[in-house]
């Protein structure tokens, strides 16, 4: 309890809210790293997943890849990349992209694959092009599952982005590593609380977005036939 009060006092200290390395700067860095990583991973993973789900081609390869990528320990990968790329943001960004891709890929591919085959076949038979089937039928119907992947990936990245501070001067992880080095546990706990707060905020926002998409995909309360969220067993390393 005492430590919590100390952390609260640390957070309340006005000196920690201005200047370089202050709380607002670290929060912004953390959000910026998260956005960059999830954005970059989505650009790669979502089109790939949609393509696989639509054509059914490369399914085995994608499942194998996603499974293997999920088993990679982020801290180990970060160390390896750090030795190769040196100090800076490059290594953590890359390591975090590897963390985010499997969730996004699985969400996109299982979402599109779960769309009822008779619906897409009917859309084709009445004269939709393949592109129109993807954009007007599969994406709207798969959106809840795809957003489930985005939600899982975002949360993993927010939590794990603390590792960026391991070899770069960025993000809320700085408070954790600084606190650890100087045995300033109040600072560590304050940093951890901030990460938790951001994670919860995004969880609430993305869950709401997912519910919205689900309502659009199944208006008028049709029964859901697909899981609203793919299961991602791996936690932040």
């Amino acid at each position: 309890m005492n430590l919590l009060l100390e952390a609260a006092a640390w957070l309340a200290d006005a000196a920690h809210w201005t200047g370089p390395g202050s709380v607002p700067v670290r929060v912004l860095e953390h959000l910026w790293v998260t956005a960059l990583v999830v954005g970059a991973a989505a650009v790669v993973a979502i089109p790939t997943g949609v393509w696989v789900g639509h054509t059914g081609r490369g399914r085995t390869a994608v499942i194998a890849f996603a499974g293997a990528a999920r088993a990679v320990p982020t801290l180990g990968l970060l160390t390896l990349l750090g030795l190769w790329l040196g100090i800076g943001l490059g290594a953590p960004l890359l390591a975090l992209v590897v963390l985010a891709v499997p969730s996004l890929l699985a969400g996109a591919y299982s979402g599109v694959e779960s769309v009822d085959g008779t619906t897409t076949s009917a859309a084709r038979a009445i004269g939709m092009s393949e592109w129109q089937i993807v954009t007007r039928v599969e994406l709207p119907l798969a959106a809840p599952v795809i957003l489930g992947g985005v939600r899982a990936a975002t949360l993993q990245v927010i939590a794990t982005a603390t590792l960026a501070a391991y070899i770069a001067d960025a993000g809320l992880g700085r408070f954790l590593f600084n606190g650890l080095k100087s045995r300033d546990y109040a600072q560590m706990l304050a940093g951890a609380l901030l990460v938790t707060l951001i994670a919860l905020l995004f969880e609430v926002l993305l869950a709401a977005a997912q519910r919205r998409a689900a309502r659009a995909a199944r208006p008028a309360g049709q029964k859901s036939t697909s899981p609203s969220n793919p299961v991602f067993p791996k936690g932040p390393s």
Binding site: A122, I126, M128, A217
Partner: protein, 278 residues
């Protein structure tokens, strides 16, 4: 007019869906392909809008080989109705019906304004336009499917087991309405079913298929009932079934038709008391 010229379909694994099929669907007629599963009837239907590409022979529409036409444009020019409607669950009835005109470049508002007329045409209350498919019954969804197929005013309608998913009473109602629509609109309709009673009820001409698209008999329903070509057709149409074999008996001066089991099937009327078509 749709011409099947020696079409066949063999799948990559060596499975033969259709061996060799030739037939011409005359313009403005309603032709039914009837057969059990494995007869290749759906494969034949789907060759017309290139959902299936024949591995032998060709399909001609008004003399033009469909293989030379753009697939997407061909499909938009042909109405397609399938079992359970095949509607888009995330779109309203109005948007579903307006799908093809919108794909063809008609403005959405304009296309939607035509929806009311189309829904009335297929016997639906236009107030359902803003509802979603899941809020409608199976029979209503099927009608929406027909309205969607008619929206771009195609010359040809393809119907794949269109009434398979609805109960017998609604099924019969929809069959009668299909006849009415055919009379009113004069489309060329090719319908596929496994139900011989449905084939006889709606078809101007019926093609009875054996396995792999082999034609067992072609003719009007009356022809086929009167002169089944062989034992296969005979058993398929149930020519020997009690309810197909009627005779008359005299009941208080009226001639009553009874089937082979003695169950009454109707009364025989003289030509002058025939009900005039509504």
């Amino acid at each position: 007019m749709i011409e099947f010229c020696g079409v066949g379909k063999t799948y990559a694994g060596g499975t033969v869906a259709v061996e060799d099929f030739s037939y011409t669907v005359q313009a403005n007629s309603l032709v039914v392909l009837v057969g059990s599963s494995g007869s290749g009837k759906t494969t034949l239907l789907r060759m017309v809008n290139r959902m299936v590409e024949p591995t032998a022979g060709s399909v001609l529409i008004d003399g033009r080989d469909v293989a030379g036409l753009d697939r997407v444009r061909l499909r938009r020019s042909i109405g397609y109705v399938l079992q359970a409607g095949g509607l888009l669950p995330h779109r309203t009835i109005a948007d579903n019906v307006a799908t093809v005109p919108v794909l063809n470049g008609t403005r959405r508002r304009e296309a939607r304004s035509a929806v009311v007329g189309l829904l009335e045409r297929v016997g639906l209350d236009p107030s359902c336009a803003e509802r979603y498919p899941s809020q409608l019954s199976g029979g209503q969804q099927q009608r929406v499917g027909v309205a969607r197929a008619l929206a771009a005013d195609p010359d040809i309608l393809l119907m794949d087991e269109p009434f398979g998913a609805v109960d017998p009473i609604v099924r019969r109602e929809l069959q009668d309405e299909l006849r009415r629509l055919q009379r009113e609109l004069g489309k060329t309709i090719l319908l596929v079913t496994h139900d011989i009673d449905e084939a006889f009820r709606v078809g101007d001409e019926v093609v009875v298929l054996k396995e792999r698209g082999v034609t067992a008999q072609v003719g009007t329903p009356a022809d086929i009932l009167a002169h089944p070509a062989d034992a296969f057709v005979r058993s398929f149409v149930g020519a020997d079934r009690a309810e197909r074999r009627l005779r008359t008996t005299d009941v208080d001066g009226r001639r009553v038709l009874v089937d082979d089991d003695g169950r009454p099937a109707g009364v025989l009327v003289a030509a002058e008391e025939r009900r005039t078509a509504p």
